[in-house]
């Protein structure tokens, strides 16, 4: 039961983008750790939001 709630909560966080920064940090650590410092939470969130709203993202 607790496991199920945890999975649903994870899904909600991921769908809404609540955990976007954590995922970005993980991606950065895996792939670009030696190239550059990761963005701050504030800078990442700004970039993420701007990108998310380019182009047709909503329909009729």
């Amino acid at each position: 039961m607790l496991q199920a709630i945890k999975i649903v909560w994870q899904a909600i966080r991921q769908l809404s983008g609540d955990d976007a920064y954590e995922r970005y940090l993980r991606h950065h650590a895996e792939h670009h750790a030696d190239e550059s410092e990761p963005l701050s939470k504030q800078a990442f969130f700004k970039k993420w939001q701007d990108e998310k709203w380019q182009g047709v993202k909503r329909c009729c």
Partner: protein, 678 residues
């Protein structure tokens, strides 16, 4: 088992005559048809026609960059995809089409989705996934030629304009002389800004916290509207004519297009997505709990083209009126470009592409139920404009009752009072009648005493994502325009250069603002003109997507399966061409644009119009002519693309050179079989 139950439910709906039928049959029929379509047709297309390959790496894996290309769990992708494709369209279309009775619309929603809309979405998603998540326009250019690409771009832009205008009109009609609704809808703007500031500065990136705050504030705004409505001094502040509200909506659209995304657009989108998903779930639960009876007849006499909500015969206008929910070209824009960037494995294409559209179709079925559980007399009284049934309540009820749908002035007054509105006569656009339907379903399921709250909750729910579509659409229109202008004048193409931002936003807002303005001053309500135009435009975009898909299938030597997209394409060509033809040439002033223009000029010249109508007549005449030109433009564009597609196919079959397939070569996925990114 599913097949037998489904067949039983469909024939139950179809053969039932004269007596009320339970809404549960609609749900049963829908779920069974969806199950059969998904299990057999979609599975067959995925395996045999598209040959999805689960060993193949998707663009999300190959081009992963941690921001937009990200392999994502399939349920999450499904959620994003559904939230993107489902807007107000499937709620409004079925409500308007209910004037033909419940049967024609329901059958088209079910079969149109299973055989047309779902296939379009799934195939487009597949093709884009195989082409590095390219957009529909790009695919059209690469696979068919420059003509297809340009057509897709123009079509998208024009549809956006018409769509925003008609949705703006729906909101304006819902707020007209309703202080409660106007307050609640206006309150959504500062609430979105509070949420935006919270996410940006107070608790950075805490999306869920901020959204929870926003949802609570929204519910308070719904309740607060009652206080406004009951206060004699405050209610005048929010009690406005349609035209005043239309100017405000335009000002809002302009502001939203130039304000930063984080302040208004993004937070508003969060709120509208939660509201949308929450309310639709609630509606499904309420219908299943309550099992209301559908009171609308299966088929009304209005299939002959004399309907009060919009003119035109059952064929082709039911297929034009219900676009979203059955087949919607707009989805092809989401299924290409956006969703493929998240797709982890090709085997999920069926669930996301086909399944996502099934769910949208289900939303349309629920809108149909909400419209048809009302007494038909009440339904027509709310949705028929004063220009059709008369300005006075007594005339309206007499006229509607004479059609065989009895309704009384008292009945409408009691209903309006229960809903906390001054009047419910001639509240065209679909939103008020849907809200009354939803309020009566929610009210019966969860407590009768709160009818007015439920009504305004439903209005707020529709308005919030209509306004989201409105500002997102204006912004997209602005970017497209900047892109086009940027080719000629470099500075205009810079999306952050303020003069360019202001000029292009103003152009886009005036384009849809014009149609909104005409819709508001039109004595027949405007929706009757704009909605069919939107339907034709949307079906034309669907036809472009299906042309691209059919062309690619033929070029991939899968010509014998080309019917999966070819057949819906043929149907769309037939209905859009017929509808356009009638809109252009019909002598009936309620159908033909030119007939209406000529009729009005004749009346104006003869001095037959009362002064208030004579004042707006020249504008209406010009608008009818403009609408005729637009219709001609749409249908010519459609035929041009179809010929281009046929030309490419014929050349291929004759062995002549055609644009080469741009499918990206196979590379093996390195993601494990049961791999889930979390």
């Amino acid at each position: 088992m599913v097949a037998v139950l489904g067949a039983g439910a469909v024939s139950g709906i179809a053969l039932n005559r004269g007596e009320p039928i339970n809404a549960l049959w609609f749900i049963t029929a829908a779920l069974c048809i969806y199950a059969i379509g998904y299990r057999f047709y979609a599975a067959w297309i995925a395996a045999t026609v598209l040959m999805v390959d689960e060993t193949r790496a998707t663009p999300a894996e190959r081009l992963e960059n941690g921001s937009d290309f990200v392999p994502t769990n399939r349920w999450i992708v499904f959620g994003h995809h559904f939230a993107a494709i489902a807007g107000p369209g499937p709620l409004v279309g079925p409500t308007l089409a209910a004037q033909f009775g419940y049967l024609p619309g329901t059958l088209w929603i079910l079969f149109g989705a299973v055989l047309g809309g779902c296939v379009q979405d799934m195939v487009t998603l597949f093709l884009s996934t195989r082409r590095d998540a390219k957009s529909l326009g790009q695919m059209a250019r690469d696979e068919l030629g420059a003509l297809g690409g340009t057509a897709a771009l123009i079509a998208t832009f024009v549809i956006m304009i018409i769509l925003i205008a008609v949705l703006g009109l729906v909101v304006v009609n819902a707020m007209k002389h309703s202080p409660w609704a106007t307050f609640t809808v206006s309150a959504t703007i500062p609430i979105a800004m509070i949420v935006g500031v919270y996410m940006r500065y107070i608790r950075v990136g805490q999306v869920l916290e901020a959204s929870a705050l926003g949802v609570i504030l929204l519910l308070l705004a719904v309740a607060g509207g009652r206080v406004i409505d009951e206060s004699a001094t405050l209610r005048v502040l929010f009690d406005h004519e349609g035209l005043t509200l239309a100017w405000w909506v335009m000002a809002y659209g302009f502001a939203a297009a130039i304000l930063p995304v984080w302040l208004l657009l993004a937070p508003r989108d969060y709120l509208s997505t939660y509201m949308k998903l929450g309310t639709i779930t609630l509606l499904a639960v309420a219908i299943i709990l309550l099992q209301p009876d559908v009171k609308m007849p299966a088929v009304t006499q209005f299939i002959d083209g004399t309907g009060p909500i919009f003119g035109g015969k059952l064929f082709p206008f039911v297929f034009i009126t219900i676009a979203c929910g059955a087949i919607s070209g707009f989805h092809a824009l989401i299924a290409s470009g956006t969703t493929p960037k998240l797709l982890t494995n090709e085997r999920d294409i069926r669930m996301i592409g086909y399944g996502g559209m099934l769910l949208e179709s289900f939303v349309a079925i629920m809108a149909m139920i909400a419209a048809t559980v009302l007494d038909p007399g009440v339904f027509f009284a709310i949705n028929s404009s004063a220009g059709v049934v008369g300005k006075e309540a007594v005339d309206a009820v007499a006229k509607i009752s004479s059609w065989g749908y009895p309704v009384t002035v008292e009945q409408m007054q009691v209903l309006a009072q229960q809903m906390g509105e001054a009047t419910l006569f001639a509240r065209t656009g679909g939103a008020p009648s849907l809200a009354v339907g939803m309020a009566s379903i929610f009210g019966s399921a969860f407590g009768e005493s709160m009818l007015a709250l439920w009504y305004h909750f439903a209005i707020m729910f529709e308005a919030i994502f209509i306004l989201t579509t409105l500002d997102a659409g204006t912004r997209v229109g602005r970017f497209m325009l900047q892109d086009i202008l940027g080719n000629k004048w470099e500075a205009m193409g810079r999306t952050s250069w303020l003069p360019s931002v202001i000029v292009t936003s103003a152009v886009v807002v005036s384009a849809w603002g014009y149609f909104l303005y005409i819709g508001v001053i039109d004595p027949n309500g405007g929706v009757n003109i704009l909605w069919p135009l939107f339907g034709i435009a949307n079906q034309m975009l669907a036809a472009i997507a299906l042309c691209v898909a059919t062309g690619i299938l033929v070029k991939s030597a899968k010509g014998k399966y080309a019917f999966i997209t070819g057949a819906p394409l043929l149907w769309l060509i037939i209905i859009t061409s017929t509808a356009s033809w009638q809109k252009l040439t019909s002598d009936d002033v309620r159908i033909g644009f030119l007939a209406a223009a000529n009729d009005l000029s004749a009346k104006l010249a003869a001095g037959l119009l009362p002064p208030d109508k004579a004042a707006v007549a020249p504008k209406l005449i010009f608008n009818f002519q403009l609408d005729a030109v637009l219709t001609l433009f749409f249908v010519s564009l459609l035929w041009l693309i179809v010929f281009d597609m046929v030309r490419v196919c014929v050349r291929y079959l004759m062995g002549k050179p055609v644009p080469v397939l741009t499918e990206v070569p196979h590379s093996f996925t390195r993601l494990a079989e049961e791999w889930v990114r979390d």
